[in-house]
Symmetry: C2
Subunit: 435 residues, 2 copies
Amino acid sequence: MAGRDRVVSLLRQLERMASSNIRYGEGVSREIGMDLQNLRAQNVCLMTDRNLSRLSPVKVVLESLTKNGVKYKLFDNVRVEPTDTSFKEAILFAKNDSFDVFVAVGGGSVIDTCKAANLYSCHPEADFLDFVNAPIGKGKPITGALKPLIAVPTTAGTGSETTGVAIFDYTPLKAKTGIASRAIRPTLGIVDPMHTLSMPERVTANSGFDVLCHALESYTALPYNQRSPCPPNPINRPAYQGSNPISDVWSRHALHVVAKYMKRAVRDPEDLEARSSMHLASVFAGIGFGNAGVHLCHGMSYPIAGNVKTHSAKGYSVEHPLVPHGLSVVLTSPAVFNFTAPMCPERHLEAAHILGADVRQLKRDDAGAVLADTLRQFLFDLQVEDGLGALGYSLDDIPALVKGTIPQERVTKLSPRGHTEEDLSQLFQASMKLY
Amino acid sequence: MAGRDRVVSLLRQLERMASSNIRYGEGVSREIGMDLQNLRAQNVCLMTDRNLSRLSPVKVVLESLTKNGVKYKLFDNVRVEPTDTSFKEAILFAKNDSFDVFVAVGGGSVIDTCKAANLYSCHPEADFLDFVNAPIGKGKPITGALKPLIAVPTTAGTGSETTGVAIFDYTPLKAKTGIASRAIRPTLGIVDPMHTLSMPERVTANSGFDVLCHALESYTALPYNQRSPCPPNPINRPAYQGSNPISDVWSRHALHVVAKYMKRAVRDPEDLEARSSMHLASVFAGIGFGNAGVHLCHGMSYPIAGNVKTHSAKGYSVEHPLVPHGLSVVLTSPAVFNFTAPMCPERHLEAAHILGADVRQLKRDDAGAVLADTLRQFLFDLQVEDGLGALGYSLDDIPALVKGTIPQERVTKLSPRGHTEEDLSQLFQASMKLY
Ligand SMILES: NC(=O)c1ccc[n+]([C@@H]2O[C@H](COP(=O)([O-])OP(=O)(O)OC[C@H]3O[C@@H](n4cnc5c(N)ncnc54)[C@H](O)[C@@H]3O)[C@@H](O)[C@H]2O)c1
Ligand SMILES: NC(=O)c1ccc[n+]([C@@H]2O[C@H](COP(=O)([O-])OP(=O)(O)OC[C@H]3O[C@@H](n4cnc5c(N)ncnc54)[C@H](O)[C@@H]3O)[C@@H](O)[C@H]2O)c1
Ligand SMILES: [Fe+2]
Ligand SMILES: [Fe+2]
C-alpha cells in the first residue's frame, strides 16, 4: 500500500465507539442489591460523601443492600472536588481491606474517587503518579484487572458513570489533572432520576453546565480525521479521538435536551420530567465527550478551579473555598466558542440555533458572536456569577491561569483552533466579566 | 417500599444500553493484523463465504495478516443465509483446531456463522439446540468464556457486528431462529466503508432495507416501560427491552441517513459518501435494535425466508433458492406499519416525514396509511419485487407462513399492537401485492 494512502487511511478513521453499560429508570437503584448478589459480592466497598450519606440516594442503596444480605463497608469521606490527598485517603481505605466490588453513590467527586480507589487497591505496588496523565504523572498504561465498579450518579452532570476518567486537584501544582483509561470505566451505571430530586438549586445549575459544555466541546472538537499524530498501532491511540459521526449524535442530542429542560430542572426541584431528562442527557453527553473529547473550556477550567481563593459555593455543603466544576467550565464558554467558531462556523451556528437563537438571517462570520451571546443570555437567565471577576480573579491572575492551562494539552489539543499562550491569556481576560 | 411502587419502578426502566466496540473509517480493515498482534493471536480462524473469498475485502484482510505475520486458517464455506447444517459445518471446522481468535469478513451470514463457531467450539460438550432460542431450542444461558471475535462487515445491513444475535434457518421446521446472548457479541467491529463498494446492486438494496426495518421496528417497538413481564432480577431480563430514549436516538438517526443516502447508494456503486453513510447507518440501527428489539416485519420474515420455493436472488452468487433477509423483511412493512400505527401514531407520522412524506396536513388517524404509502413508493423507486406474490407465494401458503411466525414470539411480542393469528394472516395477505 502506497505511503500516502496509508497516512490517509490512518487519519480518516474513528478508532472506537466506547461503550457503556447503563441502566436507567425511576427506582432502578433499588435493585442494586440484586446486582451485587449476581456478582457474588462478599465484601462491597461503598463510597459517598458526608452530605449524601444523610440523604435519600444513599439510604435507598443501603436498604437494597441490607434487604439482599449484601455485606459492605462505608467510606463517606469523599472530598467534594477531590485532591490527590483525598484520593489517597480513599485508596488507603480500599487497600486496608479486601473488597470484591466497588459501589459509588454520588456526583463526579464520589465516582472519580471510587475509580481511583479501585485502581490503586488492585495495583498495590504502583506509585500514585504512575497512572496519572502526563506531563504531571507518568501516564503508564493500566495492565492489571480491576474489580467491578457500579456507579450510581446523583448529579446530572459529569457523565462519570460512562467514562474512563477520574479527575482530581493536584495540590502541589494547584491544577486539576486526572487518570484516563478505559480500564477504570464503571462496569455498570445505574441512572435513577429520583436521586436528582434532592439536588440543591446551584448543584443542579452547575452540573447542568457541565453537560452543556461536554456537549458543545465534543461537538466542536477537532474532527477525528484531522487529528495528528495518529499512532499506527490502534492500541496506542488516545481515548479522545476528536468529533466524529458517532459522538456527534450523542452531543447534538444532549444539547437538545439541555435546551429544552435545563432551566426547568434548575428552577423547579419537583419537575421530575425535566430532572430526569437532564439526568439522561448527562449520560448522552458523557458518551459523546468520552469518545470525542472536550477542549478549551475544560482545559482552562482546571486552573480556574485549582487556583480558587475565597469563593464559597452555595449549596455544596463544604467548608473549603470551591469553584464547582461546572461553573469553572462554563464561565469561559462565551469567549471560547467565539474563538473557535471560525474553524467550523456551521456547527457553532447550529448549536446557537438549538439553544434558541434565531440564526436564519445569519452568516458564517456571525457564528462566534451569536453563540457567545446565546450562552451569555443562558447564563444570565440562570443567575450565574458575572465572570471570573466575580469569583475573585483579577487581571493579575491571568499568567497563573495560563500557566495552569499549559499542562492540559491532552484536552486542549482537541481544540479545533490552534492557540498560543497569548490567545489563552485573551480568553481568560474576555471571561473576567460576562454581562 | 410499597408493592405498587415496586412494580412501577420495575417497569419504568431501561435495563442497559448495550455497548459496541466499533472502529470506522476508510481503510481501517488494513490494520486488523496489528489488532491480532495486540491480542497475541497465535492461530486465527478466518471465516468468509466463497464469493467474498475472491473479492477485495478478504484480500485486504489477508494482506494485513500476512504483513504482520499472523497465522490463520481460512474457512470460506459459509452459506449465504445460513442453516443449522451450515452452522454445524463451520462449528466442526472450529472444533477440529484450537483457535484463539475468530475473524469474520462478510455480511450477516458470515458474522453470524462465526459467532456460532466461536460459541460451540468453546462449549464442546453442548448440544446444538442448547443455546438456540426457545421454543425451538433450549435457550440456555451462556456461562463459559468465548474467544475474541473481530467482525468486518462487508454489507451495509444487518448490524451483526454490534449485536449478540446469530440467525439461521432451522431446516427441520423451515423457519429461521437464532441464538441471542450478549456473550456472542463481537469484541470489535471494523467498519471499513471501502468494503461496500463491491456490493452488487441488489445486495446493497436488500441489506439497506434491513437497516430501514431495524430502524423503523425498533423506533415503533413496544415502549420499554410497557413491556411485561419484567423479571425482578436484572440478570433475567431479555436483551430486547422495547423502544427507549437511548435506542430512539440511534433508530431515528439511522432513519435520517437511510432517507438521505439509500437511493444514491443503491444506484451508484461509486458513490462512496452514500455507501459509507449507509455503512455507518447499519451500525446505528444495529445498536438501536440490539437494545430495543424488532417486531413484526422481522418475526414474519423468518417463515417467508424459510419457506422459499423457487425465488432466485440476483447478485447473491448462490445456487439455492433464496429470499434475501432484507427483502423478506421489507415486503411486509407497508402492511405492518399500517397495522401498528394506531398505537403510536406520532412516531409513524414522524417516520413518514423523515422518509420524505409531507405530513403537515395530516392527522393521527392518517399515520398508518401515509407511512405505508411512503414505504410502497420507496420500494417501487428501488424496483423491489411486487410483494410476496412475486416471490412465488399464494394465498394457499398463508397458513404455513402464520404457523412459522408463531414461534417467533421473542420478537413479535415487542410489537406495539397485540395480534391474533387472524391478524397475522391478514398482514401476509395484504403483503401479497404492493403496487
Ligand atoms: N470523570 C469524569 O468524566 C468527569 C467529568 C466531568 C467532571 N468531573 C469531576 O466531577 C467533579 C464534580 O462532580 P459533580 O458536578 O457531579 O458534583 P460533586 O460530586 O462534586 O457534588 C457536588 C455537591 O452536590 C452534593 N450532591 C450531589 N448529589 C446530590 C443530590 N442528589 N442531592 C443533594 N446533594 C447532592 C454533593 O454532596 C456535593 O456537596 C469534579 O471533581 C469534576 O472535575 C469528572
Ligand atoms: N445477527 C444479526 O443481528 C442479524 C440481523 C439481521 C440479519 N441477520 C442475518 O444476516 C443474514 C444476511 O446478511 P447480509 O444481508 O449482510 O448478506 P449476506 O451475508 O447473506 O450476503 C449476501 C450476498 O452478498 C455477498 N456480499 C456481501 N458483501 C459483499 C461485498 N462487499 N461485495 C460483493 N459481494 C458481497 C455475499 O457473498 C452474498 O452472496 C441473514 O441470515 C439474516 O438473517 C443477522
Ligand atoms: Fe466536565
Ligand atoms: Fe434484520
